[in-house]
């Protein structure tokens, strides 16, 4: 697990172009949203945009550096080395998650720093609640990444297409840059219910409460509980799916599809 985390971090910082892309994409999107809020006289919401940029860095990492990474491993023949080893695939995925989180921290820190410096954010954090929400949001996000990754055991490009397809809708519904559930949500109730099934939505909502409005653990306990349950359920489903799909892949011969 730790060795896979090490590979993730070393690979991320082994190529200067990747470092630049990892740092720039979340930074530029959050700056664009923050400037939009400011130019339309909604400066009090610029903090939402900066927070969204921080979480976008992690969410992008789940989608592109974890689920898609599995597909790349499969295509170049490294995935079969994992499979024939005694290491459980779930341990490798947890390692990828830990490495992904560590590799994303500089990007998230840069967004926070620049947001703080240039937009004079008005925050009123309840640190314990912020910490717990952040950790549980990451846990449920990466558990979702594990579940998505399991699809690559059987499906190749189809699973990658699913990754592409869900990226933007989740960005929209989860309210990375604006409240998508509860007071202030532009969505009808039915859409809010659907949006609530995404861990990122619950996490963003709770983070906004605890970072900007001083919401303590008592104020966000329900969000924390939902996130903890989501993380547990997604981890369980990811592990079960991984085992079931590995067996199906062995039966149908879809575990190894190498592009030569």
């Amino acid at each position: 697990m730790y060795s896979r985390a090490w590979v993730r971090v070393r690979s991320t910082y082994g190529e200067p172009v990747w470092v630049a892309v990892n740092l720039a994409v979340p930074l530029l999107s959050s700056l664009a949203m923050a400037l939009l809020y400011r130019s339309t006289g909604l400066s009090r919401f610029t903090g939402f945009a900066i927070l969204g940029g921080v979480m976008l860095a992690f969410w992008g990492n789940v989608l592109w550096s974890m689920a898609s990474q599995f597909n790349w491993d499969k295509e170049v023949g490294i995935f079969e080395i994992y499979l024939i080893s005694p290491a459980p695939i779930s341990a490798i995925l947890v390692g990828m998650s830990l490495g992904g989180i560590l590799a994303t921290v500089p990007s998230a820190a840069l967004v926070t720093l620049i947001g703080w410096r240039f937009f004079s954010l008005s925050v009123n954090p309840s640190w314990v609640a912020v910490f717990l929400t952040f950790i549980l949001t990451l846990a449920s996000l990466y558990a979702m990444g594990m579940l998505l990754s399991s699809l690559y055991l059987v499906y190749g490009r189809e699973a990658e297409s699913l990754n592409n397809a869900i990226g933007d809708p989740i960005n929209l519904l989860s309210g990375l840059y604006f409240p998508s559930i509860g007071t202030g949500s532009p969505f009808p109730f039915a859409v809010q219910i659907i949006a609530s099934l995404i861990p990122l939505t619950i996490g963003m909502d709770a983070l906004r409460k605890s970072v900007f409005y001083g919401g303590d653990v008592e104020a966000v306990w329900l969000d924390l509980l939902i996130l903890a349950v989501m993380a547990g359920v997604l981890l369980f489903l990811g592990d079960r799916a991984m085992k079931a799909l590995e067996e199906r892949g062995r039966r149908e011969g879809t575990l190894v599809v190498r592009l030569r």
Binding site: Y2, S3, R4, W6, V7, R10, S11, G14, E15, V76, G77, I78, E80, I81, Y82, L83, I84, S85, P86, A87, I92, R250, R251, G253, L255, V256, R258, R260
Partner: protein
């Protein structure tokens, strides 16, 4: 005792509504400390066989065991004692050093730091990787990447190593270095090397025994020397111009076991290799060629090789079989 054993091992796939049999009732015993060659043209079933033995694929029927454990049901007992390398795989993560990659892959097997250091030192020395072990993978040439792949396959001190075309597309010196290493590992460490290849020279150079596979069936399984002695007939190599339109009239001559040919388009010359049971057949072939207006530029007799063994058994050469399998 056989460390790898298969009985009536069969694997079929569904493809475009029809059933393709990739392995067909294979019975095989491979012994400890043996370099065992699985020789066959592309599409013969070699990779399917290795995938079943390495627990990546389930058999459709029959069974296979590694060290007595069933590959279908006891994969968790097999995986710690095997490893695999392929000539087609990516050596590892590009932006990490060869040593870093080897460390990572060793951790999949829980190799201790001390054992890892000892094994990397030994493998680097044996595979002549010493000056390259701390370079990032993207800085390594194809040959050194492949040496790293081979080192990876031995990093967990496995009992059985499956190798699928390990020297494909390598220069002569690197291929020779790798072959020497494989022979050494089998002999000195009592490791079983299961080598799937369509490289006959490689098979002859390193294998204690060879199974020839075609269309999913094992045709014969013996030492290379015995194969050549028992099945290898002499071949006559003939340079012909113009290239004959068909080889059928040569193949139909009595005592001809098989015919293969290659064409030098620039010179307009075909090199035809004819495997014969009786040397007299060559006179009849020369007569047939003359009658069909083909000029015999030169010819010579060649001692039997595994190519001739394959032609004797199948009636076709590797290249022709690969074209048939692809179409």
């Amino acid at each position: 005792m056989a460390i790898v054993q298969t009985r009536d091992l069969t694997r079929s796939f569904q493809s475009k509504g029809s059933t393709v049999v990739a392995l067909d009732g294979v019975d095989l015993d491979v012994n400890e400390g043996e370099v065992f060659g699985l020789l066959g043209p592309n599409g013969a079933g070699k990779t399917t066989f290795i995938r079943i033995l390495s627990t990546l694929l389930l058999p459709s029927s029959g069974y296979a065991t590694i060290s007595g454990f069933d590959v279908a049901k006891e994969q968790e007992k097999i995986r710690p004692i095997i490893n695999m390398a392929s000539g087609a795989e990516r050596a590892g993560y590009e932006f990490i050093s060869a040593r870093g990659n080897l460390w990572f892959f060793s951790q999949l097997y829980g190799v201790s730091t001390e054992d890892f250091r000892r094994r990397v030192a030994t493998l680097s020395s044996q595979l002549e990787l010493d000056g390259y072990i701390d370079k990032k993978v993207y800085e390594l040439s194809t040959g050194y990447r492949q040496r790293m792949t081979i080192a990876r396959a031995f990093i967990n001190d496995p009992k059985v190593v499956f190798m699928d075309e390990p020297t494909i597309a390598l220069d002569v010196m690197t291929a020779r270095r790798i072959r020497d290493f494989l022979v050494h590992e089998a002999k000195d460490s009592k490791r079983t090397i299961f080598l799937a290849t369509h490289n006959m020279a490689e098979t002859e150079a390193v294998c204690n025994r060879v199974a020839i596979i075609d269309k999913g069936k094992i045709l014969v399984c013996e030492s290379p020397e015995n194969l050549k002695r028992n099945y290898g007939h002499p071949a006559y190599v003939m340079e012909l111009s113009p290239a004959p339109i068909s080889l059928d009239n040569i193949a139909s001559v009595p005592h001809v076991k098989g015919v293969t040919s290659t064409l030098d388009e620039e010179r307009g010359v075909a090199t035809v290799r004819v495997v014969v049971e009786e040397d007299e057949a060559i006179n009849q072939i020369a007569k047939t060629l003359t009658e069909s207006g083909v000029k015999l530029l030169s010819s010579w007799r060649q001692a039997p090789t595994l190519e001739e063994v394959f032609v004797t058994l199948v009636g076709r050469g590797f290249t022709e079989r690969e074209h048939e399998n692809a179409s």
